[in-house]
């Protein structure tokens, strides 16, 4: 560590970096270094400043104070492209793909191959094919629009795009949050390859198992400060979590109650939609948490959307609290016989009105609750907002601040709180812990269990197996638009879920 060998010099280094957003601190006095050939994890709860840190490194933000050094030289990146030219390439938490351009266009977006000064479309396509092949995504058509890809494919395209820039430092800010397990493996292999090429990787994830599997160095951030950096294995998981959230955590998941029969609250028969749902049969009882597993894109999202009344032309029977109509809009489903709530996939575009106040976002689904006739009652309004904030312990300044100023985890809490305000009977959760820190995750798991104990039926889609195992009373694994396997109790194991997801019969199915 003290060697002055120039190869040992950190490839990127920050010293005394601070960053404030309209007075609020995001980073303060941070010293941080990252070495060649290391795979370096950055850990911290939501809002700890991780994204801000890497945005500074990659030229998106400029620090208010402090210096950024690359290869020992002070640099001032004015834009992400300058950073990329210096070898610092970042895959951002909010994807940087342009939806209306093709995959090939996106991969070579800022520096395409040219012929006679004009973009050479064919060379660009070949380049895309090569890069996609490198991350085993041959199934992605370079001519397809990014708009038409699923989130997990987009993340892979984003990785291909970053690779195309020949990074010296590759930063992945929760770039694996929506990946399927197969893709995660690909990314592991890729990072190992890069490590061998002496490339530094910075890896931000809230999934401890990924960090375990990949990284050699860990840095923990809390409240905008760099707490500690240590080698993998130097600390136990529990200590790390303690460093992150500043307190001790006992168990990650709340204990599951003993298996029992639940009165069915939601039952679905032969649900079909386009070619994405091919006859789904499922029932969820009041007080039960049912997980939806399977590879990404097997119809889980469509199932949730269909139940929430978003899809057109859905066939089959849905019995929600005695009513057997398939709702035809979220407005209908939130006020039906059994009230349904959906926490959508993408909180930024589907869950929240980002420029609006926290209060307005919290109330968006329950104007009827705070109104007398068509008129809003200000007293009820204030009360409802205060309840929502305190119930989920959302960390906010003032409830009239824009929700955009909150960190990702707190934004997600706002979405959940909005729906709890409607007092729903059936809660549909579409990957609600994506990009959320351990502490908050734990709160959400606990909240789910409390809701179930209060008699709600919960249908829970997650890309994280550990979550399904830890939280669910039952797991329904989807494959090609249908549920082939249901696991319950002890049978919910990682092997069983993976086997069912790949439709391999191991006899583990219940």
């Amino acid at each position: 560590m003290t060697s002055s060998d120039q190869f040992d010099q950190p490839i990127v280094q920050l010293s005394g970096v601070s960053k404030y957003f309209s007075g609020a601190r995001a980073l303060e006095g941070v010293d941080f270094a990252c070495r060649r050939g290391s795979t370096h994890a950055i850990l911290g709860e939501n809002g700890a400043g991780k994204s801000t840190l890497i945005k500074i490194m990659s030229g998106v933000l400029r620090p208010d104070t402090g210096r950024l050094l690359v290869n020992g030289n002070a640099v001032h990146f004015a834009s992400p492209s300058e950073a990329a030219r210096a070898g610092v390439v970042c895959i951002f938490q909010e994807l940087s793909l342009v939806p209306d351009l093709s995959v090939a266009d996106n991969i070579s977006i800022s520096d395409p191959p040219r012929r006679f000064g004009m973009i050479d479309a064919r060379a660009q396509r070949r380049r895309a094919e090569a890069l996609l092949a490198r991350i085993k995504c041959e199934d992605v058509d370079p001519n397809a629009l990014v708009r038409d890809l699923s989130l997990s494919r987009r993340q892979m395209v984003e990785i291909a795009k970053a690779l195309g820039k020949n990074p010296q430092v590759l930063i992945l800010d929760e770039a694996t949050s929506a990946l399927t397990s197969r893709d995660v493996q690909t990314v592991y292999d890729l990072l190992a390859e890069l490590k061998a090429d002496n490339v530094a990787s910075l890896f931000i994830s809230h999934r401890m198992n990924e960090v375990e599997a990949l990284c050699d160095t860990l840095s923990v951030f809390r409240n905008g400060s760099h707490v500690e950096t240590f080698a993998k294995g130097a600390k136990s998981d529990r200590d790390i979590v303690c460093l992150m959230i500043g307190r001790d955590v006992e168990a990650q998941f709340p204990p599951k109650p003993a298996a029992k029969e639940h009165a069915p609250c939601l039952s679905i028969e032969e649900l079909k939609w386009e070619n994405r749902l091919n006859g789904v049969n499922l029932s969820v009882g009041a007080g039960e948490i049912v997980g939806l597993g399977g590879l990404d894109g097997q119809g889980q999202k469509e199932l949730l959307l269909a139940l929430f009344g978003v899809l057109r032309g859905v066939q089959g029977t849905v019995n929600a609290g005695g009513s057997i109509d398939i709702p035809n809009s979220p407005a209908a489903s939130k006020s039906g016989q059994a009230r349904i709530a959906l926490v959508p996939e993408d909180r930024k575009t589907e869950g929240l009105m980002l420029p609006m106040s926290i209060a307005d976002n919290l109330l968006a689904a329950s104007y009827d609750k705070i109104s007398s006739g068509p008129f809003i009652n200000p007293a009820l309004e204030r009360q409802a907002v205060a309840d929502g904030v305190s119930k989920l312990q959302i960390k906010i300044g003032q409830s009239k601040d824009a929700v955009a100023t909150l960190s990702g985890g707190n934004q997600q809490k706002v979405v959940i709180a909005k729906w709890l305000m409607t007092d729903p009977d059936i809660i549909l959760l579409n990957d609600p812990t994506r990009g959320i820190d351990v502490g908050t995750k734990q709160e959400i798991y606990k909240l789910m269990r409390d809701l179930a104990d209060a008699g709600k039926a919960i249908l829970f889609y997650s890309t994280d197996y550990a979550e399904l195992i830890g939280c669910c009373d039952r797991v329904a694994v989807m494959y090609d638009g249908a549920i082939l396997t249901e696991l319950r109790g002890e049978a919910i194991t990682e092997e069983a879920i993976v086997a069912a997801a790949l439709n391999i019969d191991t006899g583990a199915a219940a």
Partner: protein, 320 residues
């Protein structure tokens, strides 16, 4: 100095403050002009002010409706001929039914616009433009068929041209419309839903807001406001005539935006719109008093809008 002054005003009310300041500037410039040319300062007389507010009321009511639509991130280009059609149908029907007929026209046009935008999902910019030309065609055909009566009813005359306690009744009408609109925006779930839908329609929809009805509702309000302005304008002129709404479209958009409403929707306060209307009305009036030739008038009008927006923009760097 100025910078720090700005930062103390909350960003929401900044446009209103700046626009109010500019109104004072316009009045001063106009007064200096009249003092130099005639030695009097009629612009500062209550009489002139009331008269400006009286004619401003027509634009103000149009702008109130336009604001609802702009808050959704849409626009209503059908206003000129909605206004005209409502006024012409009102005078054609005449009698006690005149005003209800006009309002009915406004509702019908608003429904048509709303359905086109909310259900067919055709961009409002283009759908309302189409509706506008259909209405124009209808009115040409209407006049072409026979000679429809065009006299405003006594009630229309009263609302637009009479005074009560020395104050033009039109100002009361505008005030009433303003109170209703401000109340809708602040204190009804419909008003809140307008902001939510204007900010992000997908999120509003997934929150269980019936965004289609919100859109239709806003267009209906816009249509009704235009119709009401048509009633008043016909009352003011004592008659309805072809093309009477042409002068209202661009000024109403300018007034709403100068009042601080975001043209992409989701943000804006109603008081700002009122101030924007007063600003536009006074600016036009003072330019007319100064006998500015059309060329200069256009340049000044445009420069004022750009200039003011540039001043608003100062200090707010963050772009989402």
């Amino acid at each position: 100095m100025l910078q720090s002054l700005f930062s103390r005003i909350s960003p929401d009310s900044r446009p209103s403050v700046i626009a109010s300041g500019f109104i004072v500037v316009i009045l001063l410039v106009g007064t200096v002009y009249t003092l130099m040319t005639q030695g009097t300062a009629p612009l500062l007389s209550p009489n002139y002010m009331l008269q400006q507010l009286q004619t401003g009321a027509f634009l103000g009511i149009v702008a109130a409706g336009m604001m609802m639509v702009i808050l959704l991130g849409h626009i209503d280009l059908s206003i000129p001929w909605t206004l005209t059609a409502a006024a012409m149908m009102a005078t054609t029907v005449g009698g006690d039914l005149a005003i209800p007929t006009a309002i009915g026209v406004g509702v019908a046009v608003g429904l048509a616009n709303g359905i086109g935008v909310a259900y067919l999902r055709i961009p409002s910019m283009i759908f309302t433009l189409g509706i506008d030309s259909v209405l124009r065609g209808l009115m040409v055909a209407h006049t072409g068929g026979f000679a429809p009566p065009d006299q405003a009813t006594p009630l229309m005359r009263f609302l637009a041209a009479d005074k009560v306690l020395g104050i033009p009744v039109a100002i009361f009408v505008w005030a009433l419309v303003s109170v209703v609109i401000a109340f809708i925006l602040k204190r009804t779930s419909f008003g809140r839903s307008v902001y939510a839908t204007g900010n992000r329609e997908a999120a509003a929809y997934l929150s269980g807001i019936n965004t289609r009805w919100v859109i239709i509702g806003a267009f209906v309000i816009s249509g009704v406001c235009a119709a009401l302005a048509g009633v008043l304008l016909a009352g003011y002129s004592a008659k309805a005539y072809q093309g009477m709404g042409n002068a209202f479209l661009l000024p109403s958009i300018a007034a709403v935006v100068l009042g601080g409403t975001r043209i992409l929707g989701g943000q804006g306060r109603y008081t700002g719109t009122i101030i924007g209307v007063v600003l536009i009305v006074l600016l036009n009036s003072v330019l007319s008093i100064m006998q500015m030739p059309e060329a200069g008038r256009q340049v000044i009008y445009g420069s004022v809008i750009v200039g003011m927006l540039l001043v608003y923009g100062r200090g707010q760097k963050v772009v989402s």
